[in-house]
């Protein structure tokens, strides 16, 4: 299973990943048109500067995920390969997952009464946010590769 890893020491807070995510999640797939969409698409990755570093908030695909336990509709579940997947159809927008995710990685879409989170953009070879990261603060790899290469 591949995950998105984040290393704060490489990040300079350019937010190119956020932009790439908004573009990908917009209906028009264009950043310029995305601004005009209603509701305005939200990025599934967000940043906050604290101290000398930027901190990314993105789904970690936890092995024992709080959101899966808290989800009262069964919309949050583990896939066969171990990722946490969210089924938009089953979601009713009760915000239980928002209530428990310690990374704040579940994004409430208030207008649609649903939540959303990073789905690792399975339709792409590499998620656009990782492609957009020129400083290599984000990397898309298996836990073993991450351990070995740091």
């Amino acid at each position: 299973m591949q995950k998105i890893y984040y290393q704060a020491k490489h990040c300079d807070g350019c937010l190119a990943c956020e932009v790439a995510c908004i573009e990908k999640k917009s209906l028009t797939k264009s950043l310029f048109m995305a601004k005009m969409e209603q509701p305005v698409p939200k990025a599934r990755i967000s940043f906050e500067k604290f101290g000398n570093h930027y901190w990314a908030s993105i789904c970690q695909n936890c092995v024992e995920a709080m959101c899966v336990g808290a989800c009262m509709t069964g919309a949050m579940q583990y896939s066969e390969t171990g990722e946490v997947v969210h089924n938009l159809e089953q979601c009713v927008g009760c915000w239980m997952c928002v209530m428990v995710c310690p990374f704040g990685a579940v994004v409430p879409l208030e207008d649609a009464k649903k939540v959303s989170k990073c789905d690792l953009c399975k339709d792409e070879k590499t998620p656009p946010c990782v492609v957009a990261c020129t400083r290599k603060a984000l990397c898309y790899c298996t836990p073993e590769d991450y351990e070995n290469e740091g």
């Binding site: 336990g69 509709t73 310690p102």
Partner: protein
């Protein structure tokens, strides 16, 4: 190893999945008196309000039992024989076990009230309750909901969605008394009243009035309150509270207080019998001691812990933390931990903006965050509930900043000074 699980809701399902993950050869048997796919009781009010379909209530797909290799049986478990390690069903059948999990949940409870046996008096717990209510609803113009807790308000919302005028009668001085405080309740009351609900607090129903309908049965025609007011209505929803279903273990030697008392491994006083979910009385995270907590996330967490221990992997339960999330008229409310401290104890930080339906409250004691309420902007609530779980010392200045600013993940939460 033979595992037997009684009950197929939150705790039972998560325990079964955990056991299957650890022991692929064990024989898992599940018995439930509701012979259906596992569904979510929290969604019954959504079904009532026609926001989701009947299948939408299911939390697992239709192949769940076969895929997980669970032998599921519909039936009513009647008695546990801990000496011979078996459970008797009311059909006379006997099912043996090596490890038993009791996850029978809870049932609605309400003090006796005159007229409760009439047609038109409902409770909302199971999918059958919701179906019965949905079937009756077209004849209803006005409904009285007794109880201003989470179930009462969700039921009220469901009925409101169907175009029924809803009157909520609560005995407490504010709404959802275990998961809000007076100020956040005020915001919710205003929202509900603007939406056409009528909210009566500090009020009790004294009796339900009825009249004989065309079939010759007594049907609800109104409710008399202790204020003397008479409200004409056609439906009454009783949502006062729930009581653990402990009848199954009576006479088996399992110690029962309010619920089935379990230790930190979710095991009861009798070896190899475990309990989890709404039926269990487990450790409390913040207050110490034991408590019964009837919440979905608590039930799943206890189910997972019980599953681990049943499969032979020791894990201890950190204790139940009260976590509540509700959406009232489109405005989210999330609360965690202890929301109301006695006056003079601890520090309370508050930010109120009633016009924007925004409210935040943090409760700090001994330098640790022990409770919070967020109304309106709920993004990042998990970071704060995670902080309560960590029992870490917090920086008051930083919490003050968070009262009005978005809560975002920052690697490590500020502890005193510095963040890394």
């Amino acid at each position: 190893m033979r595992y037997l699980i009684i009950g197929n809701s939150a705790a039972g399902i998560f325990a079964a999945e955990t056991i299957r993950g650890l022991d692929s050869n064990g024989k898992i048997t599940m018995i439930s008196k509701e012979d259906c796919l596992p569904y979510s009781r929290c969604l019954t009010s959504y079904f009532l309000g026609k926001e989701i379909s009947e299948e939408g209530m299911n939390i697992r797909n239709k192949d769940f039992y076969t895929q997980t290799g669970i032998d599921f049986r519909g039936g009513n478990a009647e008695r546990v024989d801990s000496d011979y390690k078996c459970v008797w069903l009311d059909s006379g059948e006997k099912v043996g076990y090596d490890k038993l999990l009791i996850a029978t949940g809870a049932s609605p409870f309400s003090p006796p009230l005159e007229g409760s046996d009439m047609k038109g008096v409902f409770q909302l717990r199971t999918s059958a309750d919701a179906k019965a209510m949905a079937e009756f609803a077209p004849k209803v113009k006005t409904a009285v909901v007794m109880g201003a807790g989470l179930v009462g308000l969700k039921g009220a919302h469901g009925l409101h969605e169907l175009g029924i005028k809803v009157i909520v009668v609560g005995s407490a001085p504010y709404l959802m008394r275990y998961s809000t405080d007076p100020e956040s309740s005020e915001i919710l009351i205003r929202l509900l009243e603007n939406d056409g609900y009528r909210i009566l607090l500090n009020t009790k129903a004294e009796r339900i009035l009825g009249e004989r309908n065309s079939e010759g049965r007594m049907a609800v025609s109104g409710v008399v309150l202790n204020s003397g007011e008479h409200i004409p209505c056609q439906m009454v929803l009783k949502a006062i509270g729930v009581r653990p279903n402990v009848q199954l273990v009576e006479g088996s030697g399992v110690f029962v207080n309010k619920g089935i008392v379990v230790d930190e491994e979710m095991e009861t006083h009798v070896k190899d019998i475990y309990a989890a979910g709404d039926v269990a009385e487990a450790d409390d995270f913040l207050q110490g001691g034991k408590s019964v907590s009837a919440l979905w996330p608590t039930a799943t967490e206890q189910g997972i812990i019980a599953g681990y221990n049943m499969a032979g992997v020791k894990r201890s339960y950190p204790g139940a933390l009260a976590l509540n999330s509700a959406v009232i008229c489109g405005v989210g409310l999330i609360s965690a931990g202890i929301m109301n401290l006695p006056p003079g104890e601890g520090i309370v930080l508050k930010a109120v903006e009633p016009k924007r339906n925004f409210y935040r409250k943090f409760v700090i004691k001994d330098g640790r965050l022990i409770g919070m309420i967020m109304v309106g902007k709920i993004e990042g609530a998990g970071i704060l509930s995670g902080l309560i779980r960590k029992k870490a010392k917090v920086d008051l200045n930083y919490l003050n900043y968070l009262l009005t600013n978005p809560v975002k993940y920052q690697g490590y939460f500020p502890v005193g000074k510095g963040g890394e």
